[in-house]
Symmetry: D2
């Protein structure tokens, strides 16, 4: 965990205090259920809730001796509860506590991430509506293609993050399961009703079949989903980095008055937030493969997954939370330059309209091959003039073209609004 | 694509013939819709269906000149259709064809993979029911823990692959979209109703907002899901590799009469199929990161994703199809040795029952710490004797233990069926 | 292997014919050594060289029955050699043949890749010298920084690929080892001198300790090195993609007369080769992790690495060979636009000289903080004017600035050659 | 960074205090060189060394305002040095400091890792010599193959880690370079001799051509090398995990008296250290791809690599340091059970000798095919008897076998020492 890329609410989920509190609740709820089933005295269950407490440092101290974290925790709690503590953890195994705790942590982390996505979606939507009809050049291969609107770019981002929201909800469901099934998952020494009770209290589903541990395909799917979301962050971040390039400069990250861009070059305003997001996306993606490698545990379980999860549990969720919040801020305050967008749009001497002319020619009876050749030869002249020549003028002077289309017919193909007639259709699809 | 790890039905999806046939259908359906909308003559649409044809070699030949595959295809089709071919592809862009085709291919591939999973699930279920109560030792950390049944192991695998089936259905939905939206996704030169028509005819959903291309987060999620499934394959394969170890030998891959295990050691029967599956799982996982890296295309699109998909489209689906089928065969014919399972279960001198004694002691009023110490000191002797000593005998001779539990009470804890009383519960959860 | 991204010489290394020929040579050389040691008759060794032959189809046929490739091969060769064939493979194990063969294949593949790098380096050097003093703007964060030369960009690429060449030579040495050590690497049934003989004949080093197989850390290092080289390819490809952007257009991939950029937009010339290289780099990188996962084989060996290598052996080397050759072609024919570079360099109204003024101010006794503020406030005005205002004019009109520097002193900082005075130093470092 | 998997010496390298101290030294050495060249007053250089100081908290405070770490650092140092501080950082850019600092950190981290490898190699060598002739069964595919010695297993590990040591030395050289080349690497405002001076003082090589930043292919190679080393750790860890399995139990991690294996099963002694190492290896491998993705920075640099390196710089080196030390401890104290090795070796009824009989038969004139069949039919009976039958007895009773070999000739093939006659050869190759 890198503190600079961490926000407190998410970080708190992964602090020892939180983890042990969840452990305590699992143990206490389980003892309640055991008491209800008559396996342990009801007084014991009550005593645990009443007197139960723990201290992180004391647990660490005991663990240094026993080299076993759950035993250390139980020992420390027993120091507070007294002899009735022996009824805790009856028939349970450490993983019942550890894995159910991880499920609670990942579910809570998911809730924050879903809220992050909601905030991001709201901001994207607002900016998309604001720029619904702000014309800008669409680019394929980094080359000017045909006009789009800046709102359309954001509508695409909205749809993508809305998909990611759905995926995250599915991933949350995948990991939010409770297992209290004993040493090898057979419930040999604990009634399945204990599991059902704890699951209900903690808002988890019951794990249908566990083998001491909750199966790691669930977690693999979860972290893979975070990797996809991170990749979408990279996509939008990359878009902004491109738009802020000196030669393009159609949009810019907000640059606060006190901020310094470069120790050497005072004029520079760099897209450092989105570059940073690009790097953070690499990290969240990097956690996917370790999570996939965690699936093939040996037999009923081995503990190789544990160290991996100590890293990626916090690192992937904290980093993604930070990245989503940062991206939300970037989009929220993004400085958009419609005038520059228009200027860029015009700079190619009308080349963006070439396809419309091509179509008009074919519809006027010219073969596709001939039409292509006629448009291309004029387009190439404009291209090579770096925008100094005008495609419209050249076409009107090309006798083969004018044999098929009148000057007015050619001119009518150089109209920007023509491209935006279905923006409403798309916005309705995306925003309802 | 490695022919040896390829099955014909899946491989066929990725052959040029299939791809061009799908292209043809996209173009022909689109022309139908254009005709219906009055943009092109109905006769043209009819002519395309009637006279339309292509030859893979001719397309390759044209592409070598034009360096553009869709233009090469259209040129070849036009050679068959004649002048009315100029009404094809009106207002469309190459990606409309390419991406919609990929959607069809991935949807078909998904259907095969879902059928593969169904076949695997059926076989796992059959073997799980067969061995529902076949006792075997459960192992954590590769060390004997407590008894399970071989059916439980398979029930876990069933539940895992059933989850994978759900994930694959979701992933299929993610990629099965149609985009016919033109050069930058604005429908500037094509009516959105064309897209709706083609989508319906091909069994796809409409892509709400495309940008020349269908957004690659969809494909990233698809390939990530295949990576999770591959990891589950590795898990079950690893289980079998462990069970076939010389010292364990509780199950064995079927070894056909003509097969030779080793050119040097004629007695060897190696788990080569599951080792092979382990390697194949690494490959399918390896395709996840390139798919994630494909998401952040530049602006409305760049073509960097295309080469990646030429590899991973076929390689990931063909490999996973082969692996699922191979795993199904392995489980189907797996030779299971219940006698050896029982022998292994017994070899630890009753250590597997230690936890039950521990519980009995605490329930008889011994503190958890003391109970643990009493059981552990006897357990350690058994462990060090390599199974020569019996835990039951030692416990009955330990006066501290017998102070809390009678010999009969101790003996009653050495009962295998005790462990299996909830097998039905678990089977009901998993198989309904 | 994707035929479109494959070149014949490299592909040939991975064809069955080549593989079996290498097997044959390993077996024949080994038999020579065995004959020399008196273990088998000299006539047998001679007979193998004289009469030895194989047919790929016949081997496949036998393998379908025996399910063992080396046995199938030996059987087929025996069909040609006759009874003396029984002296082949004496004391050897299949992996002796397979792993040594893979070493030969990877060494040969390395030789091609090294030659590819040599060709690339030569082309980069030529273009670097050609543009040694072609001024262009250096960009950090995509934002104009200070002047560089186009030759310097290429000098950096040269140095990077020269490092990659060194790494590849080291990686080649890592994998080019021969193991003929028997079933578990003990030479129980074969004299180590056989290994030494075969190694020498095939130009390999002797593997100091093998365990039936050659250890896979060697191969992991090899494929990791290819992944680094691929990433360098991506870097240079990305540079060109950026330079070809419509708004930048300082360089362009060569666009052949017959080529078509877009089926819809005839004016477009897209950097499709470098975009393609970006995708190919993703693939070569994607093969690194499976190679790393191959290292931890079980005990003396398991065969999980084998299927992985059937993919990545050909795919990584063939793809990288193709990518290096394509990149060489791109750089060779790259169309460079010095005039456009100059135009872009000037477009920021002299902002690129801001740091020099900053330095001059501090050297004239202004505090760093004040100097920064003075330069930045003027720089910001230029920035916001989109290059309409001139930094030089503004600075000369800023009384705080002119209090420290005369107009002539300010002007002297607006000199391009100032930036290039150490280009020679750098070129000497890089090209010697 | 996970504190539990962290050792102080390595962690210290990555603390802010250390980083800022290195920054200070870079700036102070650079100012020395500038003074020597007459660019700044010698008194200023002296003042920086004399009065220069910084406080981590104060730097953080300033950075919160300026959002620029190097400026914050310089401002804080200036608070101590006074007006002469304005001569620091003359002509330099932030990356000159940051990248050269990272080079120092990675070089120091490499030194620790090399020392870790030395310690590991020493321990492996000691245990290898100790068990040079301890017989144990060699296993391929997890199946008994032929005898090896436990020392041979360790000799292989030694050779592998010795290779890793060489690789790490090369990787260290790759990243240990110094760049003080200014805003775009042209030395426009700083003399290359400053770079040479700082490089020499810090024990680094001069970066031949930098572009504001040191090229990231160097770092990619470094982290890829760590990934290979991690995979070798996984290999040895996996070997031990296998050896400690209940049914195998040929070796065991040292189990300290106070340690508890399981909260539920007191008899369990689990290979938790090597399982942990398996997980840690996954993490170090997981950092390779982000490092590879860092190579393709935009133009002269973007800052996307920075966040990645804030994670993987510390995480990869700290984790690998911890893992190497843990593995060294595991091997150092590994409890080896030669008696159990012998027992396992014998349990297959002599099957391990089958190949020798096969060879003897062919040498006695039996065709390879017939010999194979004769040995296999008897071997299969032994296999199916689970070691109850003896291969030697069966072969002596097989009249086809005895037609070629006398009972004495058969018996002579059942000799363990036969397999170890070349152990010396291998040990000499590995240990010299």
């Amino acid at each position: 965990m890198v503190p600079r890329y961490s926000r407190p609410e998410m970080a708190k989920i992964w602090e020892p205090e939180t983890r042990f509190r969840i452990w305590f609740e699992i143990e206490a709820h389980a003892t309640d259920a055991l008491a209800e089933l008559g396996v342990v005295p009801k007084e014991a269950a009550a005593a645990i809730w009443e007197k139960g407490a723990f201290e992180v440092e004391r647990i660490d101290e005991i663990e240094r001796e026993t080299k076993h974290d759950v035993i250390a925790f139980l020992t420390n709690v027993a120091e507070h509860v007294g002899p009735e503590a022996r009824f805790m953890h009856q028939g349970m195994t450490s993983s019942d506590v550890l894995d159910t705790c991880l499920a609670v942590q990942l579910a809570r982390a998911s809730d924050i991430l879903i809220a992050d996505l909601d905030a991001l979606l709201e901001v994207i939507k607002r900016r998309a509506l604001e720029h619904k009809l702000t014309p800008t050049i669409g680019r394929s291969h980094g080359i000017h293609a045909e006009p789009v609107t800046f709102g359309l770019k954001l509508a695409q981002a909205y749809a993508e993050f809305a998909r990611n929201r759905e995926r995250l909800i599915a991933a949350r469901a995948d990991v939010a399961t409770c297992a209290i099934s004993g040493a090898v998952g057979t419930f040999a020494n604990i009634d399945p009703r204990v599991e059902a009770h704890v699951a209900e209290k903690l808002g988890l589903a019951v794990e249908p079949v566990s083998t001491q541990v909750i199966p790691r395909d669930r977690h693999a799917m979860f972290f893979a989903t975070l990797g996809v979301i991170a990749s979408s962050i990279e996509r939008l971040a990359t878009e902004i980095r491109h738009l802020q390039r000196t030669e393009v400069l159609e949009a810019e990250e907000y640059f606060s008055p006190g901020q310094k861009g470069s120790s050497a070059m005072p004029h520079k305003r760099n897209p450092v937030l989105t570059e940073n997001l690009t790097g953070l996306a690499r990290m969240v993606r990097g956690y996917v493969t370790p999570a996939l490698e965690n699936v093939a545990l040996w037999h009923e379980r081995d503990i190789s997954h544990s160290s991996v999860e100590r890293y990626i549990g916090p690192d992937a969720t904290i980093t993604l939370d930070f990245a989503l919040a940062r991206l939300t801020g970037v989009i929220d305050k993004l400085v958009v330059y419609p005038a520059r967008m228009e200027k860029n749009l015009d700079r190619m001497g009308g080349l963006v309209h070439s396809q419309r002319v091509l179509l008009a020619l074919t519809q006027a009876g010219v073969s596709r091959e001939d039409a292509y050749a006629q448009v291309q030869r004029n387009a190439m002249k404009v291209w090579e003039s770096d925008g100094a020549l005008s495609l419209l003028d050249l076409l009107k002077a090309d006798t083969e073209v004018t044999a098929a289309l009148s000057p007015e017919e050619i001119e009518s193909r150089f109209d920007l609004d023509y491209h935006f007639k279905h923006v409403d259709t798309i916005f309705t699809r995306v925003f309802g």
